[in-house]
């Protein structure tokens, strides 16, 4: 059967209609809502860009933006570095690869709510396993109220997030590793490329596609993190774990300032799109160069 332009368009129609209904239309409605002063999910008068002006001067939004960026940088760098390290180890350890790969993916299969409660328990300052281990090791100075201290709460949440998705990241790197032709690796070995030299000259350039995927996924995931701070700390203590997504939720569903919350959501969307496009563009160029 030859596909004509008309029949192709018709075949695309259902998916396009659904996409338009559930993605394009809500996005347009959201932007329109953000230009009003609506306090509910309906109604409100047109106020132009007032909500956006207010957001750029709102200390809560600015603090949440800072938290989100710090969180994102830490998660993206650490998660990718560790994921790459694990993938390197598994690539060079075929005996444990299959079992380890299954185990690595298990945390990512868990519900975020379950992970939140699990890590809240681990971090508990009274009878929590983490402090108990430190106590047993004589590291009393490192015992702390991980989620109760403004200095540690955000990073404590970042660790939970990385624990959940580290295996996912490692698996993508490992898949890329396994797609590298064996004869290329053998040739490199014959030429004397081993260890760090092989990684720098051979592995790193050839892992460019998985780096693009992992960096993009972890960046987007981190920028819109909501569930873990919401369940584990409710944005506290002293707003130290408030992220942009959390502020959107709080403004919309707790303060009932739906228009303002939507304006912050639109800003988050714009930031995510810009960062996502920039990352993809830069990393894709690197892929081509490699």
């Amino acid at each position: 059967m030859r596909l004509t332009t008309r029949s192709a368009a018709l075949l695309m129609l259902p998916a396009t209609a659904l996409y338009a209904l559930f993605v394009i239309y809500p996005t347009i409605r959201s932007v329109l809502l953000s230009l009003t002063d609506a306090h509910g999910v309906i109604g409100g008068s047109f106020v132009g860009l007032d909500n956006y002006r207010e957001a750029f001067q709102d200390p809560q939004v600015l603090a949440a933006l800072k938290n989100t960026l710090v969180y994102t940088v830490v998660v993206v760098v650490v998660q990718n570095a560790l994921g790459l390290g694990i993938a390197y180890w598994l690539y060079n350890s075929p005996a444990v690869r299959s079992i380890a790969r299954t185990g690595l993916l298990m945390p990512a299969m868990m519900a975020l709510v379950a992970v939140s409660y699990l890590w809240s328990f681990l971090y508990s300052p009274v009878g929590g396993p983490l402090d108990a281990v430190m106590n047993a090791l004589g590291l009393h100075g490192l015992e702390t109220s991980w989620l109760g201290d403004t200095h540690t709460a955000l990073m404590a949440i970042a660790v939970s997030y990385m624990w959940m998705y580290l295996g996912y990241t490692a698996t993508i790197y490992l898949s890329n590793y396994l797609s590298i032709p064996a004869d290329l690796m053998e040739a490199a070995a014959l030429d004397g490329a081993r260890g760090w030299t092989r990684f720098r000259r051979i592995d790193w350039p050839l892992l460019a596609p998985s780096l693009t995927v992992n960096m993009t996924l972890s960046t987007i995931g981190s920028l819109r993190v909501f569930d873990l701070p919401f369940i584990m700390t409710d944005g506290g203590p002293a707003n130290s774990t408030q992220t942009l997504s959390y502020v959107v939720f709080e403004d919309s569903f707790k303060d009932f300032r739906f228009a303002y919350g939507t304006a912050v959501a639109v800003l988050l969307l714009v930031i995510t799109v810009i960062v996502g496009v920039l990352l993809t563009t830069v990393l894709r160029r690197r892929e081509v160069a490699a």
Binding site: A38, G40, V41, G148, T150, T233, D234
Partner: protein, 424 residues
């Protein structure tokens, strides 16, 4: 081939259209196959850890109203706003909605709730609770629970520490906490992850230290946090800076899981908590305990308690089964149902003709209530829907840094909790 392709695309388009229609249509047809009216009810109690005897009450309602089938949906409190707001906006929300003060204010302002001022139970409400059910003088919900929150005391631990009675004043409480600390025993537990328990302690202190009319003047602009609440914050600071309470450790403990289990395990002498946990302690605690008014006043005074105005029932203004919905709310207010609900929740009555359940362990707090040494929760009075969350966030910050300036903290509360609700 072309015909087949055309059929295929037509079928695909039809499927998509059907899917769209299904997504847009209401989830309830309104009647069962045998002609019964389906009354949809949504609540943040009646499931999870708080059954509140609702399944039995619903079964009794269906028996009393054979033409109505109750379709009860439990939605956890954390998801409740997200669940209902979109449905209210789309016109597909439940016929009867469980509400609390902030949801009542918000949804009424958006025109979603029916005026229930003419309902028979309105005249039976306790007069001091009526303002919590009203907006602009009209009644929009039947508040079903007035929850005592006070000081749970582990009597066995106190006895072991040589403390003969539950403290009655602030100096006595401080003295007892010092005694407990000297004997390396747990004193006052304030599990404060997300700021909840510090809020309860503050409201208990406020019952002793702040004029009960403070809240009623807030939206009129005649009272502010900055002008009045410094004694409460200073009392908290005393606990935090003297080492009697470790704020950072408490900020890392979840009150609803770790806090309750810690107290149940007998590790703490005192814990400020609501009556809803009373039955849990009755079943699980292996020590004697009482629920008491909070000893927040000066030497020689009597301890006072406060109550949290809890959940109630509203009718969706757009309900197509308004009469059935009103019957349901009225049924909830009837003495038999109301008593069952109150007993399950261990809370005080909100009606003139229904007695509060008697529970041995909560006799001290009930006596204070009967003697008038009580006030409704102050933080529920301002009409700003999120006032409670703004308050807890500041207390969470105080526990993290007890040296923070009291005046600055209270001024921030005045800024974050607007004095009049927006009606836009």
């Amino acid at each position: 081939m072309r015909t087949r392709l055309r059929r295929l695309t037509t079928a695909a388009a039809a499927s998509a259209f059907a899917l769209v229609l299904a997504a847009c249509s209401s989830s309830s047809s309104g009647t069962t196959a045998d002609g019964k009216t389906v009354l949809t009810v949504v609540g943040f109690e009646g499931g999870g850890n708080e059954i509140a005897d609702i399944p039995a009450i619903n079964a009794a309602f269906e028996k009393a109203h054979p033409n109505i089938k109750v379709d009860y949906k439990y939605v956890a409190n954390t998801e409740y706003d997200a669940y209902n707001n979109t449905r209210l906006a789309a016109g597909t929300a439940a016929d009867v909605l469980m509400v609390n003060k902030d949801r009542l204010t918000t949804w009424q302002q958006q025109g979603f709730l029916a005026d229930l001022s003419d309902q028979p139970w309105v005249k039976r409400m306790l007069p001091n609770l009526a303002p919590y059910t009203q907006v602009d003088g009209k009644t929009y919900d039947f508040v079903q629970q007035n929850i005592p929150i006070g000081l749970y005391a582990n009597l066995d631990l106190l006895k072991k520490a040589g403390i003969k009675q539950v403290p009655q004043t602030w100096p006595e409480l401080i003295s007892d906490l010092k005694t407990l600390r000297a004997k390396n025993m747990g004193g006052l537990e304030i599990p404060n992850l997300k700021g909840w328990d510090a809020e309860q302690v503050s409201l208990a202190l406020a019952a002793n230290l702040i004029d009960p009319s403070w809240g009623s003047g807030y939206d009129k602009g005649t009272s502010t946090w900055a002008a009045t609440w410094s004694p409460v914050i200073d009392h908290l600071k005393q606990l935090l800076t003297s080492g009697l309470v470790d704020g950072k450790t408490m900020n890392g403990l979840d009150p609803f899981s770790q806090g309750v289990s810690q107290f149940t395990a007998g590790k703490w002498a005192f814990y400020v908590d609501g009556a809803w946990d009373l039955s849990h302690y009755q079943q699980s605690a292996k020590f004697g305990f009482t629920l008491n008014p909070f000893p927040g006043g000066p030497a020689g005074g009597k301890p006072k308690t406060f109550t949290f105005i809890g959940s109630g029932w509203s009718v969706n203004g757009a309900s197509s089964h308004k009469n059935a919905a009103e019957s349901y709310v009225d049924f909830m207010s009837q003495p038999q149902q109301d008593s069952a609900y109150l007993k399950a929740e261990s809370c005080f009555t909100t009606l003139t003709d229904v007695p509060s359940p008697k529970v041995t362990q909560s006799a001290p707090v009930a006596a204070a209530f009967a003697a008038g040494n009580t006030s409704p929760s102050q933080v529920e009075v301002p009409n700003y829907p999120n006032s409670e969350d703004k308050f807890t966030a500041q207390l969470n910050a105080l526990f993290n840094n007890p040296s923070m300036d009291t005046g600055a903290l209270l001024k921030q509360l005045d800024k974050e909790i607007p004095k009049t609700p927006s009606k836009k």
